[in-house]
């Protein structure tokens, strides 16, 4: 064989490389099929569906409230936003209004979840570029928030916190103080990571100018969330279609310019601070709830309630709305403040279920097969700002006790559809930061 022809044959040759489905740099299971010219990606294809759990089909076989736990598994890094997004869609269809306090609690839950989402995304993508310290700082900070979520919902990740018409329970008594402590830890971690990364030569070289997505391409692919904002479009569902109490809160929308990985990193870092600010404002503005007594007063109030059981009810009336002796945050006062009053929608409190026949029947009618909540026939679409962008739910009701059809619009599907285009022409090493900044969450991508 002549050397010359051999060399040209080799220079024109491309080869295929499978990245994933189980690859250390692919968070979750996804397969990239790459066509390489040496180190350069000539074309890429993306195969998804490895984590398909039939969420939408499953929802059709469930009652309205039973779908809530399955929404946890969509974006499992920010499950509370999914819970809220789903509940809002069903409530919109049923014309149900949640009390003020319940709406504030939902907003708080959403924003804490957004911080955990961004911390995970930034931490994981920094780790893949070699900054393992940042990953540890951020995951540690996330853990403080998870503890807070644990106090609020009873679980770190599988939260299942919302109900149609409200939330599961009121805020725990010392929530605001707990949040202040956790927020300080998060701010410290973000500031330390910022010092380690933002001006770091290696980090900048890897992030700047890689994975560039122009405004026009982002819109063509229907991309939303931090990814779109980094390209320079300040679209945020919280501002464009204010839900919950966002129209009464003050927050900025961080916007990038270049649309590269570095801008997406900066956007996410800035959004963490905005989300913390939002929670602080909510905790200030939240209408008083059943736990507005300080612990000392609470003790007296319990005694007064005990007196009431022996017939001395004079003082009881003063505290009746505030004392809560059943499961924390789930008694009558908490329920009145956080759930819609409609008895056809929300479960009665345990006191009512266990102590009177009306409560008992109400409870059974709501949990019995093919009874339950009846949402009027019709269809609607409602969207919230998820960790990755517009998280929409299209719900169709046939008038029954469960969805006739439930469509979840997963924000990261739209970014993943654009990924082959973003990778074309890049180096193999650029795949890692670009894929990291997409923040693909297989749970919501594959549903």
């Amino acid at each position: 064989m002549e050397n010359g022809t051999h060399a040209t044959e080799r220079s024109q040759k491309t080869y295929m490389l499978n990245m994933g489905p189980a690859h250390p740099a692919m968070h979750g299971v996804v397969r990239l099929i790459l066509e390489l010219e040496g180190e350069r990606v000539a074309s890429a294809d993306c195969e998804i569906g490895y984590l398909h759990r039939a969420f939408e089909k499953h929802a059709e076989a469930e009652t309205w409230n039973n779908v809530v736990p399955w929404t946890d598994r969509l974006n499992y890094v920010s499950p509370l936003i999914n819970n809220v997004g789903y509940a809002l869609a069903v409530e919109k269809l049923g014309g149900i209004v949640v009390p003020e306090r319940g709406q504030h609690i939902r907003t708080i839950a959403c924003e804490i979840s957004r911080v955990t989402d961004h911390l995970t995304c930034v931490g994981a993508s920094a780790m893949e570029l070699g900054a393992f310290t940042v990953f540890l700082y951020m995951i540690k900070a996330r853990e403080y928030l998870y503890q807070l979520i644990d106090q609020l919902t009873g679980a770190r990740i599988t939260t299942a916190f919302t109900r149609v018409g409200g939330v599961k329970a009121d805020l725990p008594a010392d929530f605001a103080a707990g949040f202040r402590g956790a927020a300080a830890k998060v701010r410290e971690a973000v500031s330390e990571s910022d010092q380690l990364l933002t001006k770091n030569r290696i980090f900048m070289d890897r992030m700047e100018g890689t994975g560039v997505c122009s405004k026009e391409r982002a819109l063509a692919y229907g991309i939303t969330g931090p990814f779109l904002r980094a390209s320079g479009v300040p679209y945020d569902v919280r501002r464009a279609h204010p839900h919950l109490v966002y129209d009464r809160l003050d927050f900025d929308i961080p916007v990038g310019r270049a649309g590269d990985n570095y801008d997406r990193y900066l956007c996410r870092m800035a959004e963490i601070e905005q989300s913390l600010r939002l929670v602080e404002q909510c905790l200030e503005k939240i209408p008083a709830g059943p736990h507005s007594l300080d612990p000392k007063e609470m003790k007296d109030a319990y005694e007064i309630q005990d007196l009431g059981k022996f017939g001395d009810t004079a003082l009881l009336r003063k505290y009746a709305a505030r004392v809560d002796q059943t499961l924390e945050g789930m008694g009558p006062a908490a329920a009145a403040a956080t759930r819609a009053g409609d008895r056809a929608v929300t479960l009665p409190t345990k006191e009512q279920t266990y102590t009177n026949i009306e409560g008992l029947m109400n409870h059974f009618e709501l949990v019995m097969w093919s009874w339950g909540i009846k949402i009027p026939a019709g269809e609607t679409y409602s969207a919230v700002e998820g960790g990755n962008g517009e998280l929409g739910f299209h719900a169709v009701s046939a008038g029954g006790d469960g969805p006739y059809r439930l469509r979840c619009r997963p924000p990261c599907l739209f970014i993943m559809a654009a990924l082959p285009e973003l990778l074309r022409g890049a180096l193999i090493a650029d795949i890692v930061p670009t894929f990291g900044s997409v923040n693909m969450i297989a749970g919501e991508l594959d549903r």
Binding site: E91, E216, H241
Partner: protein, 162 residues
């Protein structure tokens, strides 16, 4: 609560839906927010499928949503609808999902590929007549041996005669 993120509902005829949608795109609906489908066969509606295009007019400068519209196309699974990939490239994946989950075909995409399910999957799971307990064929041959594959079954110990 306002009906803003949903937008106004419009029903268009499936035969010239590409023209209608491209007119909407020219009007400024620059973002395809979602493309999905509902199977109404359990309600005995005809045609049985309702393909939904959700469009948004997004101002790229100040990020305001200038209006949304929800386009409904009632179709059967005959390939009538044409692909809108040329208008919004993300429709490529969304159409694959609609085909995968509902079996709604697109006239100019005869060799469309499933998005979430694997190639060997039989049926379209979000159809109302797809039985929840249906078993799917296992992938790969029964005995675990794939002739000519160097990686398949590589852990099987090879014991050659005593």
């Amino acid at each position: 609560m306002s009906d803003l993120p949903r937008g106004e509902r419009r029903d268009i005829s499936p035969s010239d839906h590409l023209e209608s949608l491209s007119r909407l795109k020219d009007e400024g609906f620059n973002v395809l927010v979602d493309l999905t489908c509902v199977d109404y066969s359990a309600q005995k509606k005809s045609p049985r499928f309702d393909v939904i295009y959700r469009l948004m007019k997004l101002d790229p400068v100040d990020g305001r949503d200038l209006g949304r519209v929800e386009i409904h196309c009632a179709v059967d699974d005959a390939p009538i609808l044409r692909s809108v990939r040329s208008l919004w490239p993300v429709a490529d994946w969304l159409e694959r999902e609609v085909w995968d989950m509902f079996g709604v075909r697109f006239a100019d995409r005869p060799d469309i590929k499933r998005l979430l399910m694997y190639e060997e999957f039989v049926g379209h799971p979000l159809r109302k007549d797809y039985p929840i307990a249906k078993r799917q064929p296992l992938i790969g041959p029964q005995d675990g041996d794939l002739p000519g594959s160097p990686s398949f079954n590589i852990l099987k110990p090879t014991i050659v005669g005593e």
